[in-house]
Symmetry: D2
Subunit: 151 residues, 4 copies
């Protein structure tokens, strides 16, 4: 049952909040809940993306600017582990850390919590693409993530 | 960087369509695209869920019936590998296979393709919960997935 | 409390199914429900859009083709009247009729029902825009809607 | 082409920001854009809902509290007029005003703008329902909206 496409995702996001370089807060919308009464699992990636955008703005590399330069950050892998449901109106703290960075890809880890309670962890793997979706070399502002993340 | 919560997901979804027991077709909605001109990555889990529901109906275990019995199938892990973007109006074939099944969880693998072209693979891990979200023993109709899937 | 922008929407969608020229069926996704246990009101426009696209394909004017020609159909007004909630897994029949068509805009009316029961009515008002979002004259295939709709 | 169900919506939301009693800011998510490069029209109701929830919290009547009391505010009508598209990463100011309030329903008007520029106006009509979706008399905290809104 081997895949021809190697799974690149290797980051195991820690539960210790101090391991994360950045955090962002998001309040759960009612529209994000489902008939189980909690946030639908497909909405977690929206929280991850909003946090990445806030992180990039914090680093001085606005995602919108990146798009104007013709470089988009495509998501090529996604992993979410759901520990305890998020509920409507909860204020979620999404913590973010930069993981392994290669010439073509970089990994980002996330811890979602409400108060002291971990609700989910997640990983996204990204590659840079041009406006036609073709992979391109990471521009300097992407390569500089590593330096920024550890500073 | 060890996690206290073991990652349960172990299935590596094959690219060979014949490995899958079930398939379902979904046409991409315009609302599912984003400003990159392709389907936003957070919408893939919606296709997986629609396919699971169609699969369960095919097996004679309607998901709606399951909910009426007070048993929901919660998603506890999600993995998606995006190979080539999906575009508006494309007709996506989502293939589904049952993976490892334990007393508390089961894994489902997916291959998303358009024509002969693989666009994504994915895995979801599920556990049964009652109406308050508490994990419960798998009812008979869930345990019978394995037999159905290989028949 | 006058608005400088006149409200263009004038269509009052009838409850009589026979008044509609086209229909399309959509099964409610679990992800479309919310914590009230029914379909969230923001998801109805997705059903309207999917039905418009199916209608245009039926008329031989694929929406995807339209986009390739550089013409998008922007929504400039939306009205929905929710009569009775839609539930998970229900099979919704969305009926569509063409309303008033001017040089720059056209209205579309909808009736959403499950079996014989009306669940919602809706109206969308559209204008043609180019790839930069600027309003453009309706191409021939849009002007021909009226003829097609009454044939 | 008369409808048996009277259209209740009568509010015409003004473009003058000073007419609104409350405002709330929302940053556009990338996931909310579509292949036209702007916010998809079905996402505007999410902004309206987030703003209603923030308004109710501001008034001291948390929507989450309301749900705990067994009273939900169902949306029975929705109207949106799209003037100029919203783009990714824009900071949208959503202004809110209370409109006509009857024994069973109340109307809410909205003005969405970026800086000084009006992008959309909208109206929602609400009724109170119990946990089974049945209309119920407005509780005191809903009837008090009018007094709060004009204070």
């Amino acid at each position: 049952m081997a895949s021809v496409h190697p799974v690149r995702l290797s980051l195991d996001p820690p539960l210790d909040p101090s391991a994360y370089a950045f955090h962002h807060q998001i309040r759960v919308r009612f529209a994000e809940t489902d008939a189980m009464g909690v946030v639908h699992h497909a909405n977690y990636p929206l929280y991850l993306e909003e946090t990445r955008v806030a992180w990039m703005r914090h680093l001085g590399h606005s995602y919108a600017d990146g798009r104007d330069d013709g470089v988009d950050l495509a998501v090529i892998e996604l992993f979410v582990q759901y520990r305890k449901p998020l509920e409507f109106d909860e204020l979620v703290t999404v913590r973010l850390m930069l993981g392994k960075q290669t010439r073509m890809t970089f990994q980002v880890g996330y811890l979602l919590s409400v108060g002291d309670e971990a609700r989910a962890t997640a990983v996204t793997v990204h590659t840079c693409v041009d406006s036609t979706g073709r992979p391109v070399r990471q521009p300097e502002w992407v390569r500089s993530f590593a330096a920024d993340a550890t500073s």
